[in-house]
Symmetry: C2
Subunit: 173 residues, 2 copies
DNA sequence: TATTGTTATACTCTATAACTATA
DNA sequence: TATAGTTATAGAGTATAACAATA
């Protein structure tokens, strides 16, 4: 295969990634609005990131690749909605770890990243389980080739490669 | 495979698409800046769209999923840079098909979507040709499952599926 | 000195609504 | 009446610079 082929393919992958993200975001934001708590996909991402553990704005900004100042108003907005609260670090009073609230957890439970009924899920399901997993693995492989892509595991909480996934019980079928 | 597995995979694909797009855009915009004509990835996308044929703002806005008014200033900016010009449709004087200029074509030739030297290309190349093509095909398959995804072929000029690609001469290796 | 969170500010992106010219 | 392009405008998102509190 010629280099120009690979360049063409790279370009197409780029276009597809953009489209996919657009579709995904649209359906997620629609469901958030339907739930009665409209917010951007990024705000939702922050909410998910602080679910397993409280994170400071510094940490969040590093993981999201954004300036800390850009997060202040976003956190304000989430706090106004009662979904998170600024906590206190007794060991370092400069830090205000962002904690998720009961309301925040309720929202995450009610509005999953991907719902069974939305176009995103239907599109991925139509690939079949094997192709879907393969697509995910290929995407991760590409991302890990980027210097900034090493922290992908931090963003995909609970992620394990297909072949390494334990055969534990996994909810309803 | 359980439904919850597919939902998890869908969510991971979503995260990956977002990261990938971010990395891709960053390297493209860096190269545009190095070339001396800084612009957003979207402006560059518009430039590419009007390369094969002049398109009206209406058509561009439909294909990009943006409001026409959002494109006016973007086109202004491209016109100020001398990369496109507003043309005239003799059959319908309301229309101003956006034409690419010599300078615009020169830029597209000098700054390809994906360069051989940038992280995007290296990441995709490291997959190997077969996996790269497969990734592209899986992405297209997913996108075509979305109602809005039918026009993907319009956005990927010259795209053909791997198995349908003619074995014609394809430049240097 | 360095770091955390913050404010003020400016710029980009995008949509809505209203308008003009043309069909 | 409907469509193409435009303007004015408002809101979100994001970065830079400067700052206070804390380490």
């Amino acid at each position: 295969m010629a280099t120009s082929d690979l360049i063409q393919i790279s370009s197409e992958i780029q276009t597809c990634a953009g489209l996919l993200l657009k579709f995904f975001s649209a359906s997620l934001e629609q469901r958030l609005e339907d739930y009665g708590v409209p917010m951007s996909g990024l705000q939702y991402a922050v909410l998910r990131m602080v679910q397993p553990e409280a994170l400071t704005i510094s940490t969040l900004s590093q993981r999201l690749g954004l300036d800390p100042s850009a997060l202040v108003r976003m956190i304000d907005s989430l706090e106004r909605k009662g979904l998170v609260k600024r906590g206190v670090d007794p060991h370092d009073r400069r830090r205000n770890p962002i904690e998720i609230t009961k309301n925040g957890m309720r929202l995450l439970a009610a509005v999953p990243v991907v719902s069974e009924t939305d176009p995103t899920f239907r599109a991925v399901r139509s690939l079949g389980p094997a192709s879907a997993a393969q697509l995910r693995d290929l995407l991760i492989q590409v991302i890990e080739e980027f210097p900034e892509g090493k922290l992908v595991s931090q963003l995909m909480s609970g992620h394990t490669r297909t072949e390494a996934r334990p055969p534990a019980a996994r909810g309803r079928s």
